[in-house]
Amino acid sequence: MRPEAVNDVINAIDETINALKNKRHAELHAISNHIIHIITIYQDPDLVDLAVAIYALDKIMETERFRTHPKMPEFEKFIIRNFESAKELLLAKKFDAYESLIRTILSNIEGFSKTIKFYIEDVIHFARIKKGTKIYEHGVSLGKATELTRTSKWDLLPSIGETLIHEFPVSELPIEKRLAQINLLFNFKKKV
């Protein structure tokens, strides 16, 4: 992990632990989005894993049926303990161990979501796509967003298509000129 990102990451972990402990699950979404700023600046895929873990937790917690699942309290305690350990590792600058622990958290969230028959089959992959879409919205290219989130352009494009990101025009070039370009490119004046 980039050392200059550590404080921001610790803050995000603290906020996540507080949100889970105080049952303010609705805050998880905003916390995962806040990390997107940090990810886009530092371009560290390991930061993406944290955002993905928090967003996946948000998706599971937002549905009452899963939030109140009998297995949830034990799982939540386990996740909080792991996030506390992750913070300790960062404070001790043990970055490799931190990254390994975040991957363990991801695999536990994945496993738990299957145990409770969470409706999204692969919650971690789903979360990666959503975070990739958010990174693209920040203004980096599609390729960069896929690189950071370990997804593909095939994964991200349909997700981006469902958002309003492309409702903001790229340039002021009028459609008349674009149409003229098409006619020039394909020589349609001759054909049509």
Partner: protein, 226 residues
């Protein structure tokens, strides 16, 4: 003067993917017959479009359909061997134009840049690209700066020397086309039965990730109805 039959369109993976997901590849194939030139993809675009799709379960079939276009000669693969240093140079240039919190923002990766560079250095070329950021780099650098500022809630610093070098290069590029423009071309070529089909296709492409606004779709339909 370049021969009209030597036209080349370099495709970024975003355009091919939007078309594949929208089931528009048959139109793409017919459109090639109306085109006096060739459709190309670089090695990097091949990897992103075909190799990645073939590695997945969800998009494998679409990957095979694009591969078939290569086998039929509708698409041609363009070796990056000769442009590799230029790709690296342009990527380095683009990735040091904008600074966020005094850090250079790495904004693009190799696939997009390889298609841009190939269309910059080959003659009589066009670039087909659906994704927004690469198109803004080419068509509206100042607009991209404002967009980044809004998203990061901070003032974005611009490396004026890099920006000016890039503008000098990008001015040589023609206006980018998107899968949406190919759909309009299909209409102009008589490949669609009615304007409502075109309207449906443009929306399908938009939902598949093509960076076109609702207003642009409506403008195209309005203009073509005349």
């Amino acid at each position: 003067m370049a021969n009209k039959k030597d036209k080349k369109i370099f495709f970024d993976s975003s355009t091919l993917i939007s078309m594949a997901i929208s089931c528009a590849l048959p139109i793409f194939e017919k459109l090639k017959d109306c085109f006096e030139g060739d459709f190309y993809i670089t090695d990097s675009v091949y990897r992103e479009t075909i190799d990645r799709a073939l590695q997945s379960v969800r998009f494998r079939y679409e990957g095979y359909r694009i591969l078939k276009l290569l086998e039929k000669g509708v698409l041609k693969q363009y070796s990056e061997k000769n442009i590799r240093p230029k790709v690296q140079n342009e990527m380095n240039l683009l990735n040091r134009i904008f600074y966020v919190y005094n850090k250079p923002l790495k904004i693009v990766q190799i696939g997009e840049v390889s298609a841009i560079v190939a269309s910059l250095y080959e003659k009589n070329t066009w670039l087909a690209i659906d994704e927004r950021t690469a198109r803004m780099l080419i068509e509206n650098l100042d607009g991209l700066k404002s967009w980044l500022g809004d998203k990061f809630h901070t003032n974005i610093k611009v490396n004026n020397s890099a920006a000016s070098d890039w503008k000098e290069h990008s001015e040589k590029l023609p206006v980018c086309i998107r899968s949406a423009e190919l759909a309009v071309a299909a209409w102009e070529a008589g490949l669609l039965e009615n304007l409502d089909q075109l309207y449906g296709l443009l929306w399908a492409l938009k939902f598949s990730g093509c960076a076109i606004t609702e207003s642009e779709i409506n403008s195209y339909i309005k203009m073509l109805r005349r």
